[in-house]
């Protein structure tokens, strides 16, 4: 139990140090831009493909149920509400935790094992800022953007599925999809993914940066990064949804 609380303390300290160091010069712009490209741009195909597929699947499932009540006109509304409020942010967080979390954990751990981090520090460069802070900040900024792509890819998937069945027009589909959407139930759920990004960057950065077990440590860092990031994202989502309902009560209706 003591080890558990020690671990929580260490990870929290690591993440807070990452946030504080974000505002401490010098800024590692070059390495930050590399992370934006690796975490954001290279995750985009996965996010778009997953969004499209989930949109199609959700549309197929909901149609079967709603048709029984003569409510198939609600399919676009249900689709947008589901993705904008919950599925888009959560699935994006989990997918990025899988793809990027493993990459960050294994990548930094490998640099530790092969003495690349020592080599950086031997140049009097702050390796923590260069390797960890840039990744945490990139994750925080990129997650909301990827969530937008996930949301709209899912709408495209939903439209495709509906069009094949009912030949609904794009105009009508979008009208119905956005009829009940307000900024309050679109912006907060999207921005909450910044917290997911912070979790992914911090947890995977921590496992990678603190490894000391050779090649086995690299493997363990990758696995632990994905498992703990995913678990914390799901737990944080519960708290964040409650917080959003508290701050924007209309969302809870």
């Amino acid at each position: 139990m003591k080890n558990f609380f020690t671990f929580i303390g260490e990870v929290s300290h690591f993440g807070l140090k990452g946030l504080v160091d974000t505002f401490r010069p010098p800024f590692e712009w070059e390495f930050f831009m590399i992370q934006i490209e690796e975490i954001g741009w290279q995750s985009l195909p996965l996010i778009l493909a997953a969004g499209l597929a989930l949109g199609i699947v959700l549309s197929m499932h909901t149609r079967g149920t709603l048709v029984q009540f003569g409510a198939e006109a609600m399919i676009p509304t249900l689709q947008s509400a589901s993705f904008f409020n919950e599925l888009g942010p959560l699935v994006t967080g989990l997918l990025v935790a899988g793809r990027v979390g493993a990459g960050i954990g294994a990548g930094i751990a490998n640099m530790r094992v092969t003495e690349q981090i020592d080599a950086i520090e031997a140049l009097s460069v702050d390796a923590f800022k260069m390797l960890v802070v840039t990744r945490i900040v990139a994750c925080i900024l990129i997650l909301p953007m990827l969530t937008l792509f996930m949301d709209f890819a899912s709408l495209a998937g939903g439209f495709l599925s509906e069009y094949l069945v009912s030949h609904i027009s794009l105009q009508l589909y979008l009208d119905r999809a956005f009829k009940t959407v307000e900024w309050a139930n679109f912006i907060p759920p999207t921005l909450k993914t910044s917290v997911f990004g912070f979790i992914i960057g911090t947890v995977s950065g921590f496992f990678g940066y603190t490894t000391d077990q050779g090649s086995e440590g690299v493997q363990r860092a990758a696995t632990n990064s994905v498992v703990l990031s995913s678990l914390l994202i799901i737990l944080a989502d519960v708290v964040l949804v409650k917080a959003i309902f508290f701050l924007f009560p209309r969302n809870a209706l």
Binding site: I34, N110, Q116, D118, A119, A122, L123, S124, V125
Partner: protein
């Protein structure tokens, strides 16, 4: 602290948890000389190098580099001292997401900010030429052989023209011929540039070739220090065995 010493350890202790790694170690290396540190695995040789460049701090004692106690200096002072040091890591520690050229350019961009991009380019080309890798500048580290990686690591360590070069296991994982080529390069660095060398190695043949003095560590203690000829006559059996085995 001796004026002519480029490196001096003064009663240095270092432990990791309960494991004592260096126990009251004192020695000095004069400027322009080469010291090879020999010893069995796990006797604190690499830790000694990391103390010299400030990657680790001693639990007690002093580590002087060019008369400056880096064990108790600020980050700014340490950064200034490191400007004149190069470190060849055991695994070469090339940044695997950078090309060879970018690996060499990084120290120049970070520590020699007065240099223009064209001057950096020229310095990188010169350093690669020195180790015979001028045609491999655009290659990624993964595309290099073990010997090439070591030479690339040496080029990166030399790109800032260091006064003190620290080398960790230059011949590990290399065949005898390639190891000999690395020794030649180290000798060249010492003779042509007048750099001080501290080399951690298991290769006695290479050590005898390059070193002015040899230090022998065993279980964290310095059990021998002197020329190879002096150490051959040591009363300590481990020292004699380490220095004479080939």
């Amino acid at each position: 602290m001796s004026d002519s010493a480029a490196v001096e350890f003064d009663h240095v202790f270092k432990a990791f948890g309960n494991r004592k790694v260096l126990d009251n170690v004192s020695f000095k290396v004069n400027a322009g000389e080469a010291l090879c540190i020999l010893g069995r695995s796990g006797t604190g040789k690499s830790v000694t190098l990391k103390l010299m460049i400030g990657l680790l701090k001693p639990d007690s004692g002093k580590v002087f580099i060019d008369s400056e106690d880096i064990a108790h200096s600020s980050e700014e002072d340490l950064s200034r001292v490191r400007r004149h040091m190069g470190f060849l890591f055991q695994s070469a520690a090339l940044f695997d997401s950078f090309t060879l050229g970018d690996n060499l350019a990084l120290p120049l961009r970070r520590l020699d900010k007065g240099k223009s991009p064209a001057e950096i380019e020229r310095a990188v080309d010169e350093a690669l030429e020195r180790v015979g890798l001028n045609l491999d500048k655009a290659k990624m580290p993964a595309a290099l052989s073990g010997g090439m990686r070591k030479r690339a690591g040496l080029a990166r360590a030399l790109v800032l023209h260091p006064r003190l070069l620290l080398v960790d296991e230059p011949s590990s994982g290399l065949d005898r011929i390639t190891a000999s080529e690395i020794d030649e390069l180290l000798l060249k660095v010492k003779q042509e540039y007048g750099a001080t060398l501290v080399i951690v190695t298991h290769d006695v043949r290479g050590a005898r070739r390059v070193a002015d003095h040899i230090a022998v560590l065993d279980q964290g203690c310095l059990i021998g220090f002197g020329t190879a000829t002096e150490l051959e006559k040591s009363d300590h059996e481990i020292v004699r065995r380490l220095v004479t085995e080939s």
